[in-house]
């Protein structure tokens, strides 16, 4: 009885029953890794740092995890944010420009990049909430414009830089783990605080579930929408700074390319419906982890990176199908249809 309710609490925390399939998918992948990839689970403690493939997955997956947290809230309102990949490039470009040509210190350059990118992100929110533009169109506009702004800031060049703070954020170690892990945990804590300790979470879920009824209750639907897109921009800025720190350069043309799609996959795989409503932040992180594990596994198995998206797509479709209540119902009827044959 007690374990029952504890299990229930855990499963709602992770996104209801559907998250089981995400966990199962992850477990299956890890099983494949354990069998076919040599030394996959081998961890090594060297110079106070932890090394190994699992640590690498956490580090590599951190950008999508950061994006997924913001994306979860946007999707929960019934929208979607396609601009996050471009906004990563914007944040990277501004940070690099401020640190080099601007001559600023990291202490002022990074907040500047965060602020400007968040403002650009909130522009999508204004388009959606005030002008009533479709979220896909609004964020597509910002996606295209953002890439342009990033190119403009870096003058179309790849800006290389050697800043110790940026280097630490992108590749440093903290408490024995890559600093990016700490960053993800911190952003998760912040997001949980903002949504669950205040009423924003309730307002977001109500807006996504039934916008008209929410408005009739006095829920500030527009404000909620502007804020979720702004927050998504903020998350994208963090991911962009991490990406820039990873490669010690602001590559406006390539940074964050197609990453908005990974973030959307992570949210969907994590149990938040694209139609809006209930959202599951931990589920989204788990989804991001699943996608990164998949990528790393394929790399380790020697699948050429050019064809890697194909198996990735297959896995995502499978997980989404298994989560779908319609598909589950159909599975049950298949089973039922089969049982009489067995007994007969």
């Amino acid at each position: 009885m007690k374990t029952d309710s504890a299990w229930k609490a855990i499963s709602t925390w992770f996104g209801g029953g559907s998250i089981i399939w995400t966990l199962l998918g992850l477990a299956l992948l890890l099983l494949v890794d354990a069998v076919w990839v040599k030394d996959f689970f081998t961890l090594e403690w060297r110079d106070g740092h932890l090394y190994g493939t699992p640590v690498d997955i956490l580090h590599q997956g951190s950008k999508v995890m950061l994006l997924a947290l913001g994306m979860t809230l946007v999707i929960a309102t019934g929208g979607v944010d396609l601009s996050v990949g471009s906004l990563m490039a914007v944040a990277g470009a501004i940070a690099a420009w401020a640190l080099t040509a601007g001559g600023m210190s990291a202490a002022s350059a990074l907040p500047l990049a965060l602020l400007v990118t968040t403002l650009i992100g909130s522009l999508s929110g204004l388009l959606v909430a005030v002008l009533g533009v479709q979220p896909i169109v609004a964020t597509l506009v910002v996606m295209v414009a953002g890439r342009g702004i990033a190119m403009l800031v870096t003058g179309g060049q790849i800006l290389t830089l050697q800043d110790p703070t940026l280097r630490f954020i992108g590749g440093g170690y903290f408490l024995g783990l890559p600093f990016t892990v700490t960053l993800v945990v911190a952003l998760l804590a912040l997001t949980l605080f903002l949504t669950r300790r205040t009423a924003f979470g309730l307002f977001i879920e109500a807006t996504g579930d039934n916008e008209t009824a929410s408005r009739f209750c006095g829920v500030p639907v527009r404000l909620v929408k502007v804020l979720v897109y702004a927050f998504s921009g903020f998350c994208a800025a963090l991911a962009g700074i991490v990406a820039t720190g990873n490669i010690h350069a602001a590559d406006s043309a390539r940074v964050g390319e197609m990453m908005e799609l990974d973030a959307i996959f992570a949210v969907v795989v994590g149990g938040t419906a694209l139609t809006g409503g209930r959202f599951h932040l931990l589920g989204s992180l788990l989804g991001a982890l699943l996608i990164q594990t998949l990528t790393t596994t394929m790399y380790n198995l020697g699948v050429p990176p050019t064809v890697a998206p194909v198996p990735k797509a297959v896995v995502i479709v499978l997980v989404c199908l298994l989560q779908s209540p319609v598909f589950q119902a159909r599975l049950r009827t298949w089973k039922k249809a089969k049982t009489p044959e067995v007994t007969a």
Binding site: L202, F203, E205, A206, D209, N210, A213, C217, G218, P220
Partner: protein, 508 residues
Amino acid sequence: MSDSDPALLSLRGIDKSFPGVKALQDVALRLRAGEVHALMGENGAGKSTLIKVLTGLYPRDAGSMRLAGQEISPASPRQAEALGISTVYQEVNLIPALSVAENICLGREPVKWGCIQWHQVRQRAVKALQRLGLQLDVTARLDTLPLALQQMVAIARALEIDAKVLVLDEPTSSLDEGEVEALFSLLRRLRGEGLGILLVTHFLDQVYAISDRITVLRNGRLVGEFLTAELPRLKLIGQMLGREPDAGQAAAAPSTDLTQVSRPVILETKAAGFRGGIQQLDLSLRAGQITGLAGLLGSGRTETARMLFGIDPATTGSIEIDGVAVPLDSPKAAIARGLAFCSEDRKREGIIPHLSVRENLILAMQAGRGPWKKAPLAQQTELAQRYIATLGIKTPSPETPIRNLSGGNQQKVLLARWLVMQPRLLILDEPTRGIDVGARAEIDRLIAQLSADGMAVLLISSELEEIVANSQSVTVLRDRRAVGHLQGSTISVAEIMKWIAHSGEEAA
């Protein structure tokens, strides 16, 4: 046009069922050439189902349809059109971004070698419009025209094929008076050309202004066919609502409390209105009094509620709260002034389906507190449990998603949502629709209790008995205007029906 004329279109014994509902049972309709025939009935009477059967959108389960003596069974609107039955639906269903000519010929463009003959398209459009006595630039985009002209274009499109029967579903609901008159002179002209016109409308005045015959449906059954000239309004309403107007059933109206008039007015509208909704409305809502808002479907009942609650803000006149004119331009503003509104459309405008009973119950309160001052979970649960107990809401737990509850229990949660706010004026639009009898009585009792505690209540219902049984004051609406105010012992079903039938005229 005598009765011996063979009917142009004749429907007999039409049955149509949907899972769980018999939408039409043994319905008949006879439409003669050269007449305007009104199809009347309240919500759920089966008017739109009948039209959809007639135009081939729904297959009929039983019965026969004859057009000019020939048995027909259209399987799609396209086939119905080919047979000569053309329909103009309520919402102008043309394509705003295409030109007038393209709209008129859409789907039946003249084609040669796989190419549309644009020259012919324009010629045909001009000809179709000329038939209606209209001269328009047929290359203009449709959405550059006023709504009334768009409606005419829709009719031109319907007549561009060789139509014998023209079906108009609520053609006037978005038109103003002058535009309605223009449409009617067109209909008279088409009637003169021998067309059979079937008209669905909620506006009584318009029915009497244009129609020759009336067929009344009620609960999916045929009530009867009448000559308009021989059917007094009061009788028509009696037929639509299913009761005799002169049965003298003055249901037990609550006795007038003499102190009532001296009760403070909470909200007063002065000639308030908005286009397409309600016009020139004067309404006083007093503390501790239940005011009923009666009228037929489409008379402006729900529109009044939406205007007061700031969903469709008043564009004319003013609304005063405690004697001070206030701008009620959003639900948020209305809630801040102490108003609350339970919509008739629970599913679309009331419940947040996947959220729990608790979350649904505290949502308005939390919205009022703003996002930062979140009500502690313990307080939320306490509130939810208290209202679950006092209103007798049947739910496994406060954490059950509200969509798993029955309609009556959902309605109680929505009521509780507003009771938490302790509003000064509670607007209830069809609070007992789709709710079983037991829960209905409970909700009525609750409303009476709230009123006794000093809340002003505006009760909207299509069931006159419900209005009569609960209200101390009744305002009757007709064709988007308030036409009568009843007080205390003068409130009865018969009296309300008289006012619905005869605005301003001597009540017969």
